[in-house]
């Protein structure tokens, strides 16, 4: 009988993905393209926030959008009405995007002349948080009807994100949503998290968010 040989590997299964993500970020830096990974649960208003963001910035930045979904092209069709370049990525049943899938999407989109690419990740607070996509910044949207306890229930996503957008603040009077509590819980998991309460519907708070994003994009794309 053949002898069994053991090969020791001892590495995180995310190691390859993290390497690919770092390489992708370096390439984007060369190309002067800023990639934003936008995550949230389904129905938080991700596409609406994105459309308002595009409307505010499209005169100043060349923007592209990648819509990731398990199926359908409804989001990409909506984004296309803003006039920016957009493509739909299908994950084929998977709940998240990794760096290799993101890179494929970026190639298809064509990023050479773009300042900002937004990746709208699959609506989910669990899995997208575990895979580095190669994005420069990670943002997440939490909407008022979801409740202020989400940072306690889904701690990882609040840890990996740079920005938390709290959407639908126009309906705050109708929900038991405590804005101070959510900030406290989120900062407990991530003291550096930037928080922007907004209403994509009324436009309240949107300027602070888009201003921040524009500054980040310009800082990243500046020649050193």
């Amino acid at each position: 009988m053949d002898k069994v040989r053991i090969i020791e590997v001892k590495e995180s299964i995310f190691a390859d993905n993290n390497k690919e993500a770092d390489r992708l970020r370096a390439e984007l830096k060369e190309e002067k393209t800023f990639l934003l990974n936008l995550m949230s649960s389904p129905g938080s208003g991700k596409t609406t926030v994105l459309m308002r963001t595009i409307e505010a910035l499209k005169e100043q930045l060349k923007i592209g959008v990648m819509e990731a979904d398990i199926d359908s092209a409804v989001d990409a069709e909506k984004i296309a009405t803003t006039g920016v370049k957009s493509i739909q990525l299908h994950t084929g049943g998977m709940c998240h995007l990794d760096a290799a899938m993101t890179e494929q999407g970026l190639k298809e989109l064509g990023t050479r002349d773009l300042d900002l690419v937004v990746l709208e990740n699959v609506g989910n607070l669990v899995c997208p948080a575990e895979f580095d996509t190669g994005a420069v910044k990670n943002a997440m949207i939490l909407s008022v009807p979801e409740g202020h306890d989400k940072p306690l229930k889904y701690p990882l996503i609040f840890t990996v994100c740079d920005v938390l957008i709290i959407n639908k603040i126009d309906v705050l009077p109708y929900f038991d949503f405590d804005l101070d509590k959510v900030k406290e819980y989120a900062h407990r998991r991530n003291p550096n998290l930037k928080i922007f309460p907004v209403s994509a519907k009324t436009g309240e708070g949107m300027e602070a968010w888009t201003q921040w994003l524009k500054e980040q994009v310009n800082a990243w794309n500046q020649t050193v």
Binding site: V4, E11, S12, D16, D98
Partner: protein, 114 residues
């Protein structure tokens, strides 16, 4: 599905090691899985059975899973405690600034070749 994506990453890593070591077939893969990594063992094994059949290198390979217990460190009293039993609040001093020190791993430990 979350587990399927993880399996694809395991297969990719094993295939890279396979090329490095010029392997033609792998009989078993050992995985270290943290207790709070959020991965469901049964789902992982089902996805494994489905996905390895599509590969040449791993088509008969078994997946062995070792669990790494989750432990949390309390910043104020510097003691570690069992995460699953006590959660995020330190059972010794009630401290709330606590950090997971182990239990989140999904590591490829070793590969067995016949």
């Amino acid at each position: 599905m979350h587990e399927l994506g993880i399996i694809f990453h395991i297969i990719k890593t094993v295939e890279r090691v396979g090329v490095e070591h010029k392997l033609s077939s792998v009989s078993a893969v050992s995985l270290e899985l943290g207790e709070v990594s959020g991965v469901v063992h049964k789902e992982l094994l089902d996805c494994w059975k489905w996905a390895v059949k599509k590969t040449e290198l791993l088509k008969d390979a078994v997946l062995n899973i070792e669990t790494i217990p989750a432990r949390t460190l309390c910043e104020s009293c510097q003691k570690t405690y069992e995460t699953v039993q006590y959660g995020r609040v330190c059972p010794c001093c009630g401290g709330q600034q606590t950090y997971l020190v182990q239990g989140n791993e999904i590591n490829l430990k070793e590969i067995a070749v016949c």
